[in-house]
Protein backbone atom coordinates (compact mmCIF):
# COMPACT_ATOMS: atom_id res chain seq x y z
CA UNK A 1 0.00 0.00 0.00
CA UNK A 2 2.64 2.47 1.16
CA UNK A 3 4.95 1.34 -1.62
CA UNK A 4 2.17 1.75 -4.21
CA UNK A 5 1.70 5.33 -3.21
CA UNK A 6 5.43 6.07 -3.25
CA UNK A 7 5.95 4.37 -6.60
CA UNK A 8 3.88 7.06 -8.24
CA UNK A 9 5.78 9.95 -6.73
CA UNK A 10 8.93 11.49 -8.17
CA UNK A 11 11.84 11.81 -5.73
CA UNK A 12 15.30 13.33 -6.17
CA UNK A 13 18.55 11.48 -5.48
CA UNK A 14 18.36 12.30 -1.79
CA UNK A 15 14.76 11.17 -1.42
CA UNK A 16 13.04 14.56 -1.43
CA UNK A 17 9.94 15.11 -3.54
CA UNK A 18 10.63 16.85 -6.81
CA UNK A 19 7.27 18.63 -7.00
CA UNK A 20 5.92 19.93 -3.71
CA UNK A 21 2.56 20.56 -5.36
CA UNK A 22 2.05 16.81 -5.95
CA UNK A 23 2.03 16.19 -2.20
CA UNK A 24 -1.04 14.84 -0.39
CA UNK A 25 -1.56 13.82 3.23
CA UNK A 26 -1.48 10.19 2.10
CA UNK A 27 1.90 10.68 0.48
CA UNK A 28 3.12 12.36 3.68
CA UNK A 29 1.97 9.37 5.69
CA UNK A 30 3.63 6.96 3.28
CA UNK A 31 6.96 8.83 3.41
CA UNK A 32 6.78 8.93 7.22
CA UNK A 33 6.14 5.21 7.33
CA UNK A 34 9.08 4.53 5.06
CA UNK A 35 11.26 6.68 7.33
CA UNK A 36 9.87 4.98 10.41
CA UNK A 37 8.31 8.07 11.92
CA UNK A 38 4.96 7.54 13.60
CA UNK A 39 2.91 10.65 13.01
CA UNK A 40 1.00 12.31 15.85
CA UNK A 41 -0.95 15.58 15.99
CA UNK A 42 2.23 17.35 17.03
CA UNK A 43 4.01 16.06 13.94
CA UNK A 44 1.16 17.31 11.77
CA UNK A 45 1.34 20.67 13.51
CA UNK A 46 4.94 21.01 12.29
CA UNK A 47 4.24 19.56 8.85
CA UNK A 48 1.28 21.89 8.29
CA UNK A 49 3.40 24.85 9.33
CA UNK A 50 6.20 23.78 6.99
CA UNK A 51 3.76 23.50 4.06
CA UNK A 52 2.15 26.90 4.68
CA UNK A 53 5.49 28.57 5.23
CA UNK A 54 6.88 27.04 2.05
CA UNK A 55 3.94 28.39 0.05
CA UNK A 56 4.84 31.88 1.16
CA UNK A 57 8.61 31.79 1.02
CA UNK A 58 9.48 29.04 -1.44
CA UNK A 59 11.95 27.60 1.06
CA UNK A 60 11.45 24.84 3.63
CA UNK A 61 11.61 26.40 7.12
CA UNK A 62 14.78 26.14 9.17
CA UNK A 63 14.80 24.69 12.68
CA UNK A 64 15.06 28.18 14.05
CA UNK A 65 12.02 29.24 12.10
CA UNK A 66 9.93 26.26 13.17
CA UNK A 67 10.75 26.72 16.84
CA UNK A 68 10.22 30.50 16.71
CA UNK A 69 6.98 30.46 14.75
CA UNK A 70 5.19 27.47 16.36
CA UNK A 71 4.80 26.36 19.97
CA UNK A 72 7.12 23.39 19.36
CA UNK A 73 10.46 23.97 21.08
CA UNK A 74 13.89 22.51 20.35
CA UNK A 75 13.60 19.64 22.81
CA UNK A 76 10.25 18.60 21.44
CA UNK A 77 11.15 18.88 17.79
CA UNK A 78 14.09 16.53 18.34
CA UNK A 79 11.72 14.05 19.99
CA UNK A 80 9.29 14.32 17.09
CA UNK A 81 11.85 14.10 14.30
CA UNK A 82 14.94 12.57 15.86
CA UNK A 83 17.65 12.71 13.18
CA UNK A 84 17.81 16.13 11.61
CA UNK A 85 14.36 17.61 12.35
CA UNK A 86 14.33 20.30 9.66
CA UNK A 87 15.31 17.79 7.00
CA UNK A 88 12.94 15.10 8.21
CA UNK A 89 9.98 17.47 8.47
CA UNK A 90 10.66 18.86 4.99
CA UNK A 91 10.96 15.33 3.65
CA UNK A 92 7.60 14.22 5.02
CA UNK A 93 5.98 17.51 4.03
CA UNK A 94 7.02 16.86 0.42
CA UNK A 95 9.36 19.85 0.27
CA UNK A 96 12.85 20.08 -1.15
CA UNK A 97 15.89 19.52 1.06
CA UNK A 98 16.52 22.54 3.26
CA UNK A 99 19.73 24.17 2.10
CA UNK A 100 20.70 25.26 5.61
CA UNK A 101 22.46 27.65 3.31
CA UNK A 102 25.55 27.69 1.43
Amino acid sequence: MTQDILDNVEFDAEGFMVKASDWTKEIGEAIAEALEVELTDRHWHVIDFARTDFEESGEPPTLRRITKQTDVDMKEIYQLFPDGPAKLAANIAGLKKPTGCI
Binding site: R64, M74, Y78, D83, K87, T99, G100, I102
Partner: protein, 411 residues
Protein backbone atom coordinates in the same frame (compact mmCIF):
# COMPACT_ATOMS: atom_id res chain seq x y z
CA UNK B 1 18.52 67.78 -3.74
CA UNK B 2 17.76 64.10 -3.84
CA UNK B 3 19.57 61.74 -1.51
CA UNK B 4 20.92 58.20 -1.48
CA UNK B 5 21.71 56.87 1.99
CA UNK B 6 24.03 53.88 2.34
CA UNK B 7 23.86 52.04 5.67
CA UNK B 8 27.14 50.36 6.57
CA UNK B 9 30.60 51.22 5.26
CA UNK B 10 32.00 47.70 5.18
CA UNK B 11 32.86 45.77 2.02
CA UNK B 12 29.53 46.25 0.24
CA UNK B 13 28.68 49.80 1.31
CA UNK B 14 32.16 51.09 0.47
CA UNK B 15 32.08 49.57 -3.01
CA UNK B 16 28.65 51.05 -3.70
CA UNK B 17 29.82 54.50 -2.54
CA UNK B 18 32.86 54.37 -4.81
CA UNK B 19 30.92 53.40 -7.90
CA UNK B 20 27.81 55.46 -7.30
CA UNK B 21 29.76 58.69 -6.99
CA UNK B 22 30.65 58.41 -10.68
CA UNK B 23 27.11 57.63 -11.76
CA UNK B 24 25.09 60.39 -10.12
CA UNK B 25 25.14 64.07 -10.95
CA UNK B 26 26.44 65.86 -7.87
CA UNK B 27 24.24 68.87 -8.56
CA UNK B 28 21.17 66.67 -8.19
CA UNK B 29 22.19 63.99 -5.75
CA UNK B 30 23.71 63.85 -2.32
CA UNK B 31 25.25 60.57 -1.17
CA UNK B 32 25.55 59.83 2.55
CA UNK B 33 27.11 56.73 4.11
CA UNK B 34 26.74 55.80 7.79
CA UNK B 35 28.75 53.43 9.97
CA UNK B 36 29.34 53.20 13.70
CA UNK B 37 32.92 52.06 13.41
CA UNK B 38 35.74 54.21 12.07
CA UNK B 39 37.93 51.19 11.34
CA UNK B 40 37.55 48.96 8.31
CA UNK B 41 38.61 45.39 9.00
CA UNK B 42 39.76 43.12 6.21
CA UNK B 43 37.72 40.20 7.52
CA UNK B 44 39.30 37.40 5.44
CA UNK B 45 42.51 38.25 7.32
CA UNK B 46 40.91 37.27 10.65
CA UNK B 47 41.59 33.66 9.73
CA UNK B 48 45.35 34.16 9.91
CA UNK B 49 45.49 35.99 13.24
CA UNK B 50 45.09 32.96 15.57
CA UNK B 51 48.22 31.44 14.01
CA UNK B 52 50.33 34.56 14.24
CA UNK B 53 50.53 34.92 10.44
CA UNK B 54 48.83 38.33 10.63
CA UNK B 55 48.55 40.62 13.62
CA UNK B 56 45.37 42.67 14.16
CA UNK B 57 47.18 45.73 12.79
CA UNK B 58 47.63 43.97 9.46
CA UNK B 59 43.91 43.93 8.78
CA UNK B 60 42.86 47.43 9.85
CA UNK B 61 42.63 50.69 7.97
CA UNK B 62 40.59 53.84 8.59
CA UNK B 63 37.20 53.70 6.84
CA UNK B 64 37.60 57.32 5.81
CA UNK B 65 40.49 56.46 3.46
CA UNK B 66 38.12 54.45 1.28
CA UNK B 67 35.19 56.86 1.05
CA UNK B 68 35.53 59.03 -2.05
CA UNK B 69 35.50 62.78 -1.95
CA UNK B 70 32.03 64.24 -2.34
CA UNK B 71 30.42 61.63 -0.14
CA UNK B 72 29.39 62.45 3.38
CA UNK B 73 30.54 59.80 5.89
CA UNK B 74 28.68 59.96 9.19
CA UNK B 75 30.11 57.98 12.10
CA UNK B 76 27.10 56.97 14.15
CA UNK B 77 25.00 54.05 15.22
CA UNK B 78 21.92 53.61 13.10
CA UNK B 79 19.01 53.54 15.46
CA UNK B 80 16.02 52.99 13.24
CA UNK B 81 15.01 52.64 9.63
CA UNK B 82 11.53 53.99 8.90
CA UNK B 83 10.75 52.78 5.39
CA UNK B 84 7.19 54.11 5.39
CA UNK B 85 8.56 57.59 6.02
CA UNK B 86 11.65 57.13 3.82
CA UNK B 87 13.98 58.11 6.57
CA UNK B 88 16.62 56.80 8.94
CA UNK B 89 17.18 57.84 12.54
CA UNK B 90 20.78 57.99 13.78
CA UNK B 91 21.93 57.82 17.40
CA UNK B 92 24.29 60.73 17.01
CA UNK B 93 22.34 63.85 17.95
CA UNK B 94 19.15 61.90 17.14
CA UNK B 95 19.64 63.10 13.61
CA UNK B 96 17.09 62.01 11.01
CA UNK B 97 18.10 61.49 7.42
CA UNK B 98 15.46 61.31 4.74
CA UNK B 99 16.26 59.40 1.58
CA UNK B 100 15.04 58.82 -1.94
CA UNK B 101 16.99 55.59 -2.18
CA UNK B 102 18.35 53.43 0.61
CA UNK B 103 21.14 50.86 0.23
CA UNK B 104 21.38 48.48 3.17
CA UNK B 105 24.89 47.05 3.72
CA UNK B 106 24.89 46.38 7.46
CA UNK B 107 26.34 42.88 7.10
CA UNK B 108 26.09 40.03 9.58
CA UNK B 109 27.90 39.33 12.85
CA UNK B 110 28.20 36.64 15.48
CA UNK B 111 25.66 36.37 18.28
CA UNK B 112 27.18 33.99 20.89
CA UNK B 113 24.37 34.73 23.35
CA UNK B 114 22.10 32.57 21.18
CA UNK B 115 23.76 29.43 22.58
CA UNK B 116 23.29 28.50 26.19
CA UNK B 117 26.54 28.58 28.16
CA UNK B 118 28.71 29.78 25.30
CA UNK B 119 29.37 33.27 26.60
CA UNK B 120 27.85 33.07 30.05
CA UNK B 121 29.35 29.88 31.46
CA UNK B 122 32.78 31.14 32.52
CA UNK B 123 34.93 29.76 29.71
CA UNK B 124 34.45 32.57 27.19
CA UNK B 125 37.83 33.88 26.04
CA UNK B 126 39.54 31.52 28.52
CA UNK B 127 39.24 28.24 26.65
CA UNK B 128 36.36 29.20 24.38
CA UNK B 129 37.16 31.54 21.48
CA UNK B 130 35.70 32.77 18.24
CA UNK B 131 37.81 33.97 15.33
CA UNK B 132 35.12 36.04 13.56
CA UNK B 133 35.93 39.18 15.56
CA UNK B 134 39.30 40.96 15.82
CA UNK B 135 39.28 40.55 19.63
CA UNK B 136 38.37 36.90 19.50
CA UNK B 137 41.02 36.09 16.90
CA UNK B 138 43.71 37.98 18.84
CA UNK B 139 42.84 36.30 22.15
CA UNK B 140 42.90 32.91 20.47
CA UNK B 141 46.38 33.68 19.11
CA UNK B 142 47.48 34.40 22.68
CA UNK B 143 46.04 31.10 23.86
CA UNK B 144 47.48 28.97 21.05
CA UNK B 145 50.94 30.42 21.45
CA UNK B 146 51.44 28.66 24.78
CA UNK B 147 49.10 25.71 24.37
CA UNK B 148 50.69 22.35 25.00
CA UNK B 149 48.00 20.34 23.27
CA UNK B 150 44.80 18.53 24.08
CA UNK B 151 41.45 18.22 22.42
CA UNK B 152 40.43 21.10 20.17
CA UNK B 153 36.80 21.15 19.05
CA UNK B 154 35.75 23.48 16.27
CA UNK B 155 31.99 23.97 16.23
CA UNK B 156 29.61 25.80 13.92
CA UNK B 157 26.49 26.62 15.94
CA UNK B 158 23.99 27.19 13.19
CA UNK B 159 23.83 27.80 9.45
CA UNK B 160 24.06 30.07 7.56
CA UNK B 161 27.37 31.64 8.56
CA UNK B 162 29.37 34.16 6.61
CA UNK B 163 32.23 32.70 4.65
CA UNK B 164 31.05 29.09 5.13
CA UNK B 165 34.49 27.74 4.18
CA UNK B 166 36.26 29.66 6.99
CA UNK B 167 35.84 26.87 9.59
CA UNK B 168 37.46 24.41 7.18
CA UNK B 169 40.31 26.79 6.50
CA UNK B 170 40.75 27.22 10.23
CA UNK B 171 41.00 23.45 10.64
CA UNK B 172 43.50 23.05 7.80
CA UNK B 173 45.66 25.87 9.12
CA UNK B 174 45.45 24.55 12.68
CA UNK B 175 46.71 21.17 11.48
CA UNK B 176 49.63 22.91 9.77
CA UNK B 177 50.29 25.16 12.79
CA UNK B 178 50.46 22.28 15.27
CA UNK B 179 52.78 20.42 12.89
CA UNK B 180 55.07 23.46 12.74
CA UNK B 181 55.13 23.64 16.51
CA UNK B 182 55.91 19.94 16.73
CA UNK B 183 52.84 19.15 18.82
CA UNK B 184 50.46 17.77 16.21
CA UNK B 185 50.63 14.35 17.87
CA UNK B 186 49.46 15.93 21.12
CA UNK B 187 46.41 17.60 19.61
CA UNK B 188 43.19 15.88 18.75
CA UNK B 189 41.09 17.91 16.33
CA UNK B 190 37.32 17.49 16.03
CA UNK B 191 34.99 19.37 13.69
CA UNK B 192 31.36 19.38 14.86
CA UNK B 193 29.01 20.80 12.23
CA UNK B 194 25.23 21.00 11.85
CA UNK B 195 25.65 20.02 8.18
CA UNK B 196 25.53 16.44 7.01
CA UNK B 197 29.04 16.68 5.54
CA UNK B 198 32.13 18.88 5.45
CA UNK B 199 30.40 21.44 3.23
CA UNK B 200 26.97 22.31 1.90
CA UNK B 201 27.38 21.19 -1.69
CA UNK B 202 27.91 17.48 -2.48
CA UNK B 203 30.99 17.46 -4.78
CA UNK B 204 32.91 19.93 -2.63
CA UNK B 205 31.74 18.21 0.56
CA UNK B 206 33.20 14.90 -0.53
CA UNK B 207 36.56 16.35 -1.63
CA UNK B 208 36.92 18.57 1.45
CA UNK B 209 35.73 15.71 3.66
CA UNK B 210 38.47 13.43 2.43
CA UNK B 211 41.02 16.19 3.03
CA UNK B 212 39.90 16.38 6.66
CA UNK B 213 40.30 12.65 6.91
CA UNK B 214 43.78 12.71 5.41
CA UNK B 215 44.83 15.34 7.91
CA UNK B 216 43.46 13.25 10.78
CA UNK B 217 40.65 15.65 11.66
CA UNK B 218 37.52 13.95 13.01
CA UNK B 219 34.21 15.04 11.53
CA UNK B 220 31.03 14.98 13.62
CA UNK B 221 28.05 15.76 11.37
CA UNK B 222 24.43 16.79 12.04
CA UNK B 223 25.56 18.24 15.35
CA UNK B 224 23.14 20.98 16.44
CA UNK B 225 24.55 22.52 19.57
CA UNK B 226 22.09 23.05 22.42
CA UNK B 227 24.42 23.92 25.25
CA UNK B 228 27.99 24.37 26.40
CA UNK B 229 28.74 22.75 29.75
CA UNK B 230 31.67 24.82 30.96
CA UNK B 231 32.30 22.73 34.07
CA UNK B 232 32.43 19.45 32.26
CA UNK B 233 34.07 21.15 29.27
CA UNK B 234 31.71 19.55 26.78
CA UNK B 235 29.35 20.73 24.08
CA UNK B 236 25.95 19.05 23.95
CA UNK B 237 23.64 18.66 21.00
CA UNK B 238 19.84 18.73 21.06
CA UNK B 239 19.84 15.01 20.36
CA UNK B 240 21.97 14.40 23.48
CA UNK B 241 25.38 13.82 21.97
CA UNK B 242 28.30 15.15 23.97
CA UNK B 243 31.74 16.19 22.78
CA UNK B 244 34.36 17.01 25.41
CA UNK B 245 36.89 19.76 24.69
CA UNK B 246 39.97 21.35 26.18
CA UNK B 247 39.79 24.19 23.68
CA UNK B 248 36.53 25.16 22.00
CA UNK B 249 36.72 27.28 18.86
CA UNK B 250 33.22 28.38 18.02
CA UNK B 251 31.56 29.99 15.04
CA UNK B 252 28.46 31.22 16.86
CA UNK B 253 25.08 31.90 15.27
CA UNK B 254 25.41 34.67 12.70
CA UNK B 255 22.71 37.33 12.57
CA UNK B 256 22.00 40.49 10.62
CA UNK B 257 22.17 43.85 12.39
CA UNK B 258 19.79 44.50 15.30
CA UNK B 259 18.63 47.70 13.63
CA UNK B 260 17.11 45.54 10.88
CA UNK B 261 15.09 43.62 13.47
CA UNK B 262 14.11 46.77 15.40
CA UNK B 263 12.86 48.33 12.20
CA UNK B 264 10.74 45.31 11.35
CA UNK B 265 12.71 44.71 8.16
CA UNK B 266 14.23 41.29 8.85
CA UNK B 267 13.48 37.57 8.81
CA UNK B 268 14.16 35.19 11.74
CA UNK B 269 17.89 35.92 11.53
CA UNK B 270 17.50 39.65 10.84
CA UNK B 271 18.24 39.31 7.12
CA UNK B 272 16.31 41.59 4.76
CA UNK B 273 14.09 39.65 2.34
CA UNK B 274 15.02 40.64 -1.21
CA UNK B 275 14.54 39.44 -4.75
CA UNK B 276 17.49 37.10 -5.19
CA UNK B 277 18.04 38.10 -8.83
CA UNK B 278 17.45 41.88 -8.73
CA UNK B 279 18.63 42.64 -5.13
CA UNK B 280 15.63 44.90 -4.54
CA UNK B 281 13.68 44.69 -1.29
CA UNK B 282 10.54 42.58 -1.61
CA UNK B 283 8.55 45.25 0.13
CA UNK B 284 9.96 48.67 -0.64
CA UNK B 285 11.00 49.50 -4.15
CA UNK B 286 13.47 52.21 -3.13
CA UNK B 287 15.40 49.86 -0.80
CA UNK B 288 18.30 47.82 -2.19
CA UNK B 289 20.53 45.39 -0.33
CA UNK B 290 24.14 44.35 -0.93
CA UNK B 291 26.36 41.79 0.79
CA UNK B 292 25.62 39.79 3.90
CA UNK B 293 22.61 41.85 5.02
CA UNK B 294 20.14 40.26 2.59
CA UNK B 295 18.52 36.83 2.56
CA UNK B 296 19.82 35.66 -0.84
CA UNK B 297 20.47 31.91 -0.73
CA UNK B 298 24.13 32.12 -1.66
CA UNK B 299 27.33 32.39 0.39
CA UNK B 300 27.80 35.44 2.53
CA UNK B 301 31.20 36.53 1.24
CA UNK B 302 33.07 39.58 0.02
CA UNK B 303 33.37 38.05 -3.44
CA UNK B 304 29.60 37.75 -3.56
CA UNK B 305 29.15 41.39 -2.55
CA UNK B 306 31.49 42.23 -5.43
CA UNK B 307 29.45 40.17 -7.91
CA UNK B 308 26.28 41.88 -6.65
CA UNK B 309 27.69 45.36 -7.13
CA UNK B 310 27.12 45.94 -10.85
CA UNK B 311 23.70 44.32 -10.81
CA UNK B 312 22.59 46.44 -7.87
CA UNK B 313 23.87 49.69 -9.36
CA UNK B 314 22.39 49.02 -12.81
CA UNK B 315 19.06 48.19 -11.29
CA UNK B 316 18.94 51.17 -8.97
CA UNK B 317 19.88 53.52 -11.82
CA UNK B 318 17.27 51.86 -14.03
CA UNK B 319 14.71 52.44 -11.30
CA UNK B 320 15.64 56.13 -11.22
CA UNK B 321 14.82 56.21 -14.93
CA UNK B 322 11.51 54.47 -14.38
CA UNK B 323 12.69 51.16 -15.87
CA UNK B 324 12.11 47.65 -14.52
CA UNK B 325 15.05 46.00 -12.74
CA UNK B 326 16.86 43.18 -14.53
CA UNK B 327 17.04 39.76 -12.90
CA UNK B 328 20.78 39.43 -13.43
CA UNK B 329 22.33 38.24 -10.19
CA UNK B 330 22.94 34.49 -10.41
CA UNK B 331 24.28 33.86 -6.90
CA UNK B 332 27.87 33.79 -8.15
CA UNK B 333 30.41 33.11 -5.40
CA UNK B 334 34.05 32.18 -5.43
CA UNK B 335 36.42 31.54 -2.58
CA UNK B 336 40.04 30.68 -2.19
CA UNK B 337 40.24 28.08 0.56
CA UNK B 338 43.52 28.11 2.43
CA UNK B 339 44.44 24.48 3.03
CA UNK B 340 47.72 24.69 4.95
CA UNK B 341 51.35 24.04 3.99
CA UNK B 342 51.20 26.90 1.44
CA UNK B 343 48.46 25.26 -0.57
CA UNK B 344 45.01 26.47 -1.46
CA UNK B 345 41.84 25.43 -3.26
CA UNK B 346 39.52 27.57 -5.36
CA UNK B 347 35.79 27.00 -5.59
CA UNK B 348 33.42 28.82 -7.93
CA UNK B 349 29.64 28.35 -7.98
CA UNK B 350 26.21 29.99 -8.17
CA UNK B 351 22.53 29.37 -7.32
CA UNK B 352 22.29 26.50 -9.79
CA UNK B 353 25.78 25.08 -10.26
CA UNK B 354 27.65 23.54 -7.35
CA UNK B 355 31.46 23.85 -7.09
CA UNK B 356 33.02 21.62 -9.75
CA UNK B 357 36.57 20.55 -10.42
CA UNK B 358 38.48 21.96 -13.42
CA UNK B 359 40.49 25.07 -14.20
CA UNK B 360 39.44 28.66 -13.63
CA UNK B 361 40.60 30.75 -16.56
CA UNK B 362 41.93 34.13 -15.47
CA UNK B 363 43.49 36.27 -18.15
CA UNK B 364 47.02 37.28 -17.15
CA UNK B 365 47.03 35.47 -13.81
CA UNK B 366 45.45 32.04 -14.07
CA UNK B 367 44.50 29.42 -14.62
CA UNK B 368 43.72 28.42 -11.04
CA UNK B 369 42.86 24.81 -10.23
CA UNK B 370 39.29 24.34 -9.09
CA UNK B 371 38.48 22.08 -6.16
CA UNK B 372 42.07 20.92 -6.02
CA UNK B 373 45.06 21.99 -3.95
CA UNK B 374 47.73 24.12 -5.59
CA UNK B 375 50.36 26.67 -4.51
CA UNK B 376 48.84 29.20 -6.96
CA UNK B 377 45.57 29.14 -5.04
CA UNK B 378 47.42 29.85 -1.80
CA UNK B 379 49.17 32.71 -3.52
CA UNK B 380 45.79 33.97 -4.78
CA UNK B 381 44.48 33.94 -1.23
CA UNK B 382 47.44 35.87 0.17
CA UNK B 383 47.36 38.37 -2.69
CA UNK B 384 43.68 38.96 -2.06
CA UNK B 385 44.42 41.37 0.79
CA UNK B 386 46.20 43.74 -1.57
CA UNK B 387 43.45 43.37 -4.14
CA UNK B 388 40.82 44.01 -1.46
CA UNK B 389 42.27 47.34 -0.29
CA UNK B 390 43.46 48.56 -3.66
CA UNK B 391 40.95 47.34 -6.21
CA UNK B 392 37.86 45.73 -4.73
CA UNK B 393 36.81 48.40 -2.23
CA UNK B 394 37.37 51.12 -4.77
CA UNK B 395 34.91 49.44 -7.10
CA UNK B 396 37.72 48.87 -9.61
CA UNK B 397 37.56 46.30 -12.36
CA UNK B 398 38.34 42.78 -11.26
CA UNK B 399 39.27 40.04 -13.69
CA UNK B 400 36.14 38.14 -12.62
CA UNK B 401 32.80 38.45 -14.40
CA UNK B 402 29.71 39.05 -12.28
CA UNK B 403 27.97 36.03 -13.79
CA UNK B 404 29.53 32.61 -13.38
CA UNK B 405 31.03 30.92 -16.42
CA UNK B 406 31.14 27.20 -17.17
CA UNK B 407 34.43 27.58 -19.06
CA UNK B 408 37.03 25.17 -17.71
CA UNK B 409 34.65 23.32 -15.39
CA UNK B 410 34.36 19.55 -15.60
CA UNK B 411 30.80 18.26 -15.30
Amino acid sequence: MKRVVILGAGTGGTMVANKLVHELDEREWEIVIVDRDETHYYQPGLLFIPFGIYSPRDIEKPKRDFIPRGINLILSDIEMIEPEKNRVVLSKDKQTLSYDYLVIATGTHIQPSETDGLMDGGGWRKNIFDFYTPDGAADLAGFLKYWKGGRMVVNVAEMPIKCPVAPLEFLFLADWYFHQKGIRDKVEIVYATPLDGAFTKPRAASILGSMLEKKGINLETNFNIGQVDNKKQAIKSWDDREIPYDLLVTVPTNMGAEVIARSGLGDDLNYVPIDKHTLQSNKYENIWVIGDAGNTPTSKAGSVAHFMLDVLLDNMLRHMEGLEPLAEFDGHANCFIESGFDQGILIDFNYDVEPLPGKYPLPGLGPFSLLKESPANHWGKMMFRWVYWNVLLKGGDMPFESQMTMAGKWQ
